[in-house]
Amino acid sequence: MLIAEITKSRYTINNMSQKILLDKINVPGIKTYEVYRKEGGYTSVEKALKKLTPDEVVEEVKTSGLRGRGGAGFPAGMKWSFIDKKSGKPRHLVCNADESEPGTFKDRFLMEYIPHLLIEGMIVSSYALGANLSYIYIRGEYMWVYKILERAIAEAKAAGWLGKNILGSGYDLDLYVQIGGGAYICGEETALIESLEGKRGNPRIKPPFPAVSGLWANPTVVNNVETIAAVPWIVNNSGADYAKIGIGRSTGTKLISASGNIKKPGVYEIDLGLSVYEFMNSDEYLGGMSTDRPLKAFVPGGSSVPILPAHLIYKTAAGEDRLMTYESLSDGGFATGSMLGSGGFIVYDDRACIVRNTWNFSRFYHHESCGQCSPCREGTGWLEKVLHRIENGHGREEDIELLWSIQSKIEGNTICPLGDAAAWPVAAAIRHFKEEFEYHIRFPEKIKNRDHFVAEPFEKVRHLVSNVTV
């Protein structure tokens, strides 16, 4: 592919609620500084630097209820307020653009097609934190996006939005992009900081938290791309306006990366509170399944969150409509719920094999474990090996219990959340799809072909292992 070709958007999207982040995404040339500026870009910088104190910006973000969009969902304003301003050390804002949770590709979309939105957000957020040197850490595989950001930063600098004494306010900011080298673990904020220091991406032991001792032992805030990109709108309008969108503690809009067996995969901006049913089936969003095969399962928030079977997708166990909010998606806890996570929405039809998918995720976490702490280093590999055996027809009856035991021994016992992320998908698959594991173990000849459920979906053979007698 020629470079010229990738400058035009490959993906068209259009939906009613794209009002904050993707509002201008279809404006021709919005990638460029000129068009972005003409469309009202960088006004939040003018407003913040000329009219607001840093603390007032922090207050607006607090009021907005904006929660970290990387997956954990921690309130962004509160995270900002933890930064150590008393020590007198230099402070840093680091944007986490190491997007690599399987199922998630929203940040790349924002950065590729509207890079100045992130840069505008970085300037306002750095101002709020009193940071004079900030970085965007982007995953190595997004090399062309790294180049897009470097050019956008140069444009912004040339236009006077970066550097010394921005807009005559006395505020200085240098902003750079740092490229990673291929390691999912660097999405964990302390591993990211280590990597930004030119080291292996080994997560640090916390405390101390980055807000006290982060990049080069200076107070540091690490925020996801989407979180930072929401800040200009909040400053331009108000935190209260942002909080009007959404339901309860799930305020504002959220980017959802949708993939799998659906008609219209891609990135969507939704109002938090939209029902899962509407998101899945309305033509404005995913448009239903890609074929006439039935919905089997979905993962709502990236590979690490629990997978849910069809009957728990549109309704919670309590019979209420399942909504696209932090609270509703986790309703029922891990027994019958999942998590919004990073918004990586993966949909499976009945051709998909849950055992194979679980093995696939386990292979991913095994591959991405940094190897620093024993439960994760040893446990992720063990999970993968056992799952690989089962998927390839060499499972033993006791393996299901063994898998359950291994994941439970990893969960909660590791330095960073990668251990949990490796454990949860295995636990959820066994919790909701145990019969499928039993089928693999008892009928190895039937699963020899890796597409075993294409011709004969599990529903057709479930009676072979079903514990329910009719």
């Binding site: 390691a183 292996r200 032991i205 405390p207 095994h366 591959h367 991405e368 474990s369 940094c370 190897g371 620093q372 702490c373 024993s374 439960p375 280093r377 040893e378 446990g379 992720t380 590999g381 063990w382 090996k385 056992v386 055996r389 063994l402 035991s405 021994k409 909660g412 016992n413 590791t414 330095i415």
Partner: protein, 349 residues
């Protein structure tokens, strides 16, 4: 600050970790530690052996901590209450970590020079199971030669990072490190380079397992057949205070002096460690003491025994007598009592 571990309270200075407080109390509350090393900055937190349960965060914030905490890197708070040995959750976690550390371990203790003074052996003795649930092929590494003094057995390594810290903190030119990642992480120089700075031998002492052993001692003796003595010499590079491990009049190995947590009291130089195996080079101070559960006790002088009695001695003698009688039945027929005894033995056997 007051902290309570398994019901025992102690006053500690701010900045004390839970593990340090537990070591001050001593005894069974002390969590095992495979990666933490008090003399190495930044060590700890990795092996997860020392996980404890914080049932009360502090007087100011009494909420319990939801997750088990690595006691070696968690600071004490005033009023904190901790469960270590007394917590089933903690015991379960230690069992889990032990299992994880062993699944890919070669379990080659019979030919390992560390056997007898290995922290992983001790950990398995305390928290391990006699049966493995791991039926997959074990991970192995290609051997690497790291020079004339130190033998690297990567298959035994538990990635505690202590040897890397020794090289970083004791020398100014570290040439080895942790390469690759995940379960393929390995200690290496990457280029089969000899690790030859003056303090590199301390990597052997800090290694909790048999991954780094003394090449000059290789296969010379099981550690429990050596008699350890404290000794010293005038050294212009280090403190010169060591433990020499003797077999008869021969010094087979020289190490740093290790405390009850197997940490050296002071680091020593390579000259003292590798180049002075002649007893005349040393002033021998006297026998070294060990904690009572160490296998090295088998051959040292910490306990004077008046009479050696094996617990099953009586049964053994009885069994031998029975055998003797069976063989020579004609001349010495069994009495009624003998027959009863033989039956009982059979039942027990």
């Amino acid at each position: 600050m007051k902290v309570t571990i398994d019901g025992q309270s102690i006053e500690v200075e701010p900045g004390t970790t839970i593990l340090q407080a537990a070591r001050m109390i001593g005894g069974e509350v002390v969590p095992p530690a495979m990666c933490y090393y008090s003399k190495l900055k930044g060590s700890g937190g990795k092996c997860r052996c020392c996980l404890v349960e914080v049932s009360k965060g502090s007087e100011a914030d009494p909420r319990p901590m939801p997750k088990l905490m690595a006691s070696c890197v968690t600071g004490c708070m005033d009023g904190m209450e901790v469960n270590s040995k007394s917590s089933e959750r903690v015991q379960e976690a230690r069992k889990s970590v032990t299992e994880f550390l062993l699944i890919n371990h070669p379990l080659d203790c019979p030919i390992c020079d560390q056997a007898g003074e290995c922290d992983l052996q001790n950990l398995s003795f305390e928290h391990g199971k006699s049966k493995t649930r791991f039926i997959e092929e074990k991970r192995t590494f290609e051997p690497e030669d790291i020079g004339p003094n130190i033998q690297l057995h990567m298959n035994r390594c538990i990635l505690c990072y202590r040897c890397v810290m020794v090289a970083d903190q004791l020398t100014d030119n570290r040439v080895h490190g942790v390469m690759d990642r995940g379960d393929h992480s390995n200690i290496s120089t990457c280029i089969s380079k000899a690790i030859d700075n003056e303090f590199s031998g301390n990597m052997i002492d800090v290694c909790p397992v048999g991954a780094l052993t003394d090449k000059t001692f290789r296969f010379k003796s099981r550690v429990w057949f050596n008699k350890p003595y404290n000794a010293h010499r005038n050294c212009d590079k280090c403190c010169g205070k060591t433990t020499v491990w003797m077999f008869g009049d021969e010094i087979q190995r020289v190490t740093g002096r290790k405390d009850e947590y197997h940490e050296v009291e002071e680091f020593i130089c390579n000259e003292c460690r590798f180049d002075h195996k002649d007893p005349k080079d040393w002033v021998i101070e006297g026998p070294r003491k060990f904690e009572k559960d160490s296998v090295i006790n088998q051959n040292n002088y910490t306990r004077k025994l008046d009479k050696v009695e094996i617990a099953t001695e009586k049964n053994i003698l009885l069994g031998r007598e029975v055998d003797r009688k069976k063989i020579s039945m004609k001349t010495t027929p069994l009495t009624e009592e003998d027959i009863i005894n033989q039956k009982n033995l059979g039942n027990h056997g």
